[in-house]
Symmetry: C2
Subunit: 232 residues, 2 copies
DNA sequence: CGCTGTCTTGATGTGAGTCAAATCTCGTGG
DNA sequence: CCACGAGATTTGACTCACATCAAGACAGCG
């Protein structure tokens, strides 16, 4: 069960600078008189399902969230991965139903904004409107990048691109928490569990990569990188 | 050479109802005092290249335009196909460089709006701002759909989905102009020319499809459709 | 009418999917 | 604290869809 923790203190939010309220002054924030709730979701918990009626939008304070689409044939495709500062559920601004299923991959802290409130903020503030436009653009770019991976690259290359990016973004002295199962990596990259497993196992044997309790580290980044610079 | 035809008569534009000015009244349109040019591009002509400095945005009055990305390894991926009513080059609103190369696939008539003008219109009119947000959302959806095709489906299915959609949208009594070469179909669907050619040739032999001077027709849509309803 | 580029077709190779089973991990309850 | 069991991961053997390489066939156009 997701837990509603508290009314958010947006004014002092640690991620405000990257949020949709980033352009706001102290004053603006104080005028922002709508309820925002901080909530905690456990790994595996679902924010909403594809085709549910839209109801609220979310900002991630910490944690990783996947947006998935399930197909009639039983397969799933992860469409986007979201982390701190990212927003989701904003299709509710223009559509009556969610476009994806949103699931927490690890413990996640998010702020929830009910849509009617969001809409009124949007109307009132060009800042927010603009910020949201930016987020859409960003999402599109991200999706296009993944599209290109799937359309033009082989299994090794897709996985290498992903792992390298992931380690760059969330790496602490080389080690990066990897909250995705092999299955999920497969669903993201358009592969099968077996293929993902085989490749990662191979890299670990090679010494390209280490893995320890859900975290990975690229031992010799150059090797894997060499795999990539032939491409892009 | 693209030909600048004339200053556009936006007020009486045949596609105004689907344009970003769709919410505008007669009055609004008359207040809209910025230069818009109608231009004609021939098949193969390039609107702009990826990484060019952004300069103008376009609305399609007629014709088909592809947005492509070229990779270091020589491959290309078509990221989106655009037709009447679609807009492109709008990343210029938030970025200094174009994200794709835009190419006309057949004779195309477009309206060109210089970015500084567009920005001022945007600021002045929430209508436009909102319309653009909608377009962005639409582009994202379209890209996600393609992503799913590439991530989860086999060659036959990808091609079938595409052809069926294409014929539904642009079909006149069954016949639909198909301004894409096999090569371009391949670049859109993450396949090779040979695979595309083989599959389409097979369908033509089977009687699933006919082809005549650059146009196609699904003879018995049910057969091809049956291929698909197992999926989605 | 020949040339260039597109499309088709065949022969062959291989990357990755499929099926199946062994092994590892980790949370749970005894 | 350990044993158990469910799920995740790895590995192997096999298959097959699609890429690759290599020619022809077929436009459309100067």
């Amino acid at each position: 069960m997701p837990k509603k923790e508290a009314v958010s203190d947006c004014l002092n939010c640690p991620i405000r600078s990257v949020s949709i309220f980033s352009g706001f002054s102290q004053q603006d924030m104080q005028n922002l008189d709508i309820p925002v709730f901080t909530m905690r979701f456990e790994a595996g918990e679902v924010f909403y399902q594809e085709n549910d009626s839209t109801f609220a939008a979310y900002t991630i304070k910490s944690g990783v969230v996947k947006l998935v689409k399930e197909l009639k044939n039983g397969k799933s495709q992860i469409v986007r991965l979201l982390t701190t500062g990212d927003i989701f559920g904003f299709e509710g601004l223009m559509d009556t139903h969610y476009h994806h299923t949103a699931v927490a991959l690890n413990e996640a802290h998010v702020c929830r904004l009910k849509l009617p409130d969001l809409i009124s903020v949007c109307r009132a503030s060009p800042h927010v409107h603009e910020a949201i436009l930016h987020r859409w653009a960003q999402a599109l770019k991200q999706t296009e990048d993944l599209l290109i991976e799937l359309g033009t690259k082989k299994a090794h290359e897709r996985l290498a691109t992903f792992v390298i990016n992931w380690c760059q973004h969330s790496g602490i002295n080389g080690w990066a928490q990897l909250p995705l199962t092999r299955q999920e990596l497969a669903e993201l990259l358009g592969l099968t569990v077996e293929t993902v497993s085989r490749i990662m196992a191979e890299w670990k044997r090679n010494g390209f990569m280490e893995e320890k309790q859900g975290a990975i580290r690229l031992s010799d980044e150059t090797d894997l990188t060499r795999l990539l610079d032939k491409m892009t």
